[in-house]
């Protein structure tokens, strides 16, 4: 069976699942009862590492550069998009990829709430040029980076998966 682009295969409860990288674990049957403690632990662990990495990126940005404050969250969002693209492109199955890397690490490394707060402050301070750069780089940079990550992931691991 031909594998669709950006799809991951994984085997859960005796059923071969085809997901698009969004069904992160075995909750496809619609109940939390099927999410194992192990998977929850992986999501929590990945989320902890991702959030801590985002915080440290913003600390480094504020201490080492004179760039505006929103560039820290921007860097974390772009990095997370690249990593999740690589994860999807690799075609790797299993909880470490889906729960730890994608749902946990990438999910917590990137954030929408801090981005929206930064955008709101930029609007209220009438920093229109910075607002345009922030929105432009985040959306026009982040989403294509997922494609780039997929290509990298397919090139590095796709053939082996």
């Amino acid at each position: 069976m031909a594998r669709p682009r950006s799809a991951c295969f994984h085997h859960v409860d005796g059923v071969d699942m085809v997901s698009t990288g969004r069904q992160v674990f075995s909750c496809h049957v619609g109940t939390m009862a099927n999410v194992s403690i192990f998977e929850l632990g992986l999501i929590m662990g990945g989320g902890a590492i991702g959030a801590a990495a985002r915080y440290l990126i913003t600390v480094c940005q504020s201490r080492l550069t004179t760039w505006p404050g929103w560039t820290g969250v921007l860097a974390a969002n772009l990095l997370g998009c690249l990593i999740i693209g690589v994860a999807v492109g690799s075609g790797q199955a299993g909880p470490w990829t889906h729960a730890f890397l994608m749902a946990g690490l990438c999910g917590a490394l990137t954030t929408m709430s801090a981005l929206a707060l930064d955008l709101t402050v930029l609007i209220w301070t009438a920093a229109w040029r910075q607002l345009a750069w922030c929105i432009g780089i985040t959306f026009a940079g982040g989403i294509p980076l997922i494609f780039v990550g997929q290509v990298i992931g397919e090139a590095l691991w796709g053939a082996a998966a």
Binding site: G47, A51, A52, G107, M112, S113, A114
Partner: protein, 174 residues
């Protein structure tokens, strides 16, 4: 460095909780038959409302060093009743200012950077947009982007307003 290490630990703990709540919400959304991109949109918007509220709530109670972002806003007139609370409080002794600053860093690190940062996500949103585009549903992908951006900012404003309304009495009395 010690302060950064403690805050990083608080952020990590909050991030783990936030990621777990998001994943559980995705499962609940899938069980209710809501499209995955819709679930992420709802989570992100609710997270933005909470972020706006917590931002105002924490800043109005713990910010006394005059370095908060709210005081630079052009809508300060909308913050009537709480105006001035974010500015430098020269009546407080230095140790008290330092204590409040540590509390603010720890609480905002755990709740805002950690829990809400881990709850809301940009990468999963981006992956949903890519998936919609690959499925030929370009209009839906654009709608997802527009709604996420618009409702996200709207959510922050709503959260700030809720924070202002619930903080006014506290601020006037303090």
């Amino acid at each position: 460095m010690k302060g950064i290490a403690i805050t990083t630990a608080a952020v990590a703990l909050g991030g783990g909780l936030g990621a777990m709540i998001r994943s559980a919400s995705e499962c609940a959304g899938a069980a209710l038959g809501i499209a995955s991109w819709g679930v992420v949109l709802i989570i992100n918007v609710l997270g933005c409302v909470a972020m706006g509220f917590l931002f105002f709530w924490l800043e109005s109670r713990l910010r006394r060093d005059g370095k908060g972002r709210l005081q630079y806003l052009h809508v300060r007139h909308a913050l009537r009743g709480t105006r001035g609370i974010f500015e430098m409080d020269s009546t407080l002794p230095a140790p008290e200012l330092a204590r409040l600053h540590r509390q603010l860093a720890l609480k905002s690190g755990f709740l805002m950077t950690g829990v809400l940062g881990g709850l809301t996500t940009f990468s999963t949103f981006g992956l949903d947009v890519v998936k919609l585009a690959e499925d030929g549903r370009t209009g839906m992908a654009i709608l997802d982007i527009v709604l996420s951006l618009g409702l996200g900012i709207g959510g922050i404003v709503l959260g700030l307003e809720i924070g202002r309304r619930t903080s006014t009495r506290h601020t006037i009395q303090s």
